[in-house]
Symmetry: C2
Subunit: 173 residues, 2 copies
Amino acid sequence: MNFQLDEAIEVLGNTPNTLEYFLSNLSPGWLECNEGEGTWNAEEVIEHLIECEKTNWLPRIKSILEEGGRKPFPPFDRFAHLKEKPEGAMQEKLQQFKSLRSQNIKTIKAIIIPNLHLELTGQHPAFGEVKLRELLSTWVVHDLTHISQIVRVMAARYGEDVGPWREYVSILK
Amino acid sequence: MNFQLDEAIEVLGNTPNTLEYFLSNLSPGWLECNEGEGTWNAEEVIEHLIECEKTNWLPRIKSILEEGGRKPFPPFDRFAHLKEKPEGAMQEKLQQFKSLRSQNIKTIKAIIIPNLHLELTGQHPAFGEVKLRELLSTWVVHDLTHISQIVRVMAARYGEDVGPWREYVSILK
């Protein structure tokens, strides 16, 4: 096991600034490209991350600490942001994500006592018993997955433009 | 073709800050992990990016503008940073990368005239004739590849820790 709460929080704390700098001052061509029908562009990924801060991670953490696996996790719809298209400019959404993340990190620092809580379990609606430390690890990896997704989508935009280098660049495969 | 010089420069300009924020205040466990024997950790990726700023992108661009394909590109060793292990702390290397990138962007803005130069060709030692616009597109995609690589390596550190979520997180596959 590599998970440690303080190290997980290091990564969770860096994600909003990372995305803000990665996506700053980009032309619409970069922000609006996706991987085809039914895939997400950068803005939709940020909207999804916002939705997760509101209705996924913290409610599930609280469910473990308060319900201890007696009830399944509260419902979470990972396509919610596609149904009620959130308004506002990209920059506002990045600030909203940063503010929610900062608040959620403060909360978990206040409510989680690693020595007491990390092995506590909750009930995932699809695959049953999960530990708090597994949920927290997944939060970190989920951030990394979506950073990677945005990076990959943007790279694909130049997939043909690289010419003969295409065979040498792993991200295009 | 999606390539446009000004849009390419947007991404090239964002990479140093993105990596600086992504890697700031991380414990050694995050910075030192890799994907096994012969693979690079985050610090080695930054060292490679520095090496590319010095001996790959700009020398090749100048070769196209000055030699126009009469000579092959000057040699570039993509493992140079592993042979002469660069000294200095991660933070210094990130600042060095930022400074070199900033200087190189200034230079290409000064020497490349899009309407005149983008179709000019150089001679790649492995696969022959390449266009300036293909080289510049590859520079962008190369940045994105290495951001993605660092993100993937860090995610793999929690590959087991996510427990039953492992099957649901694409970056771990």
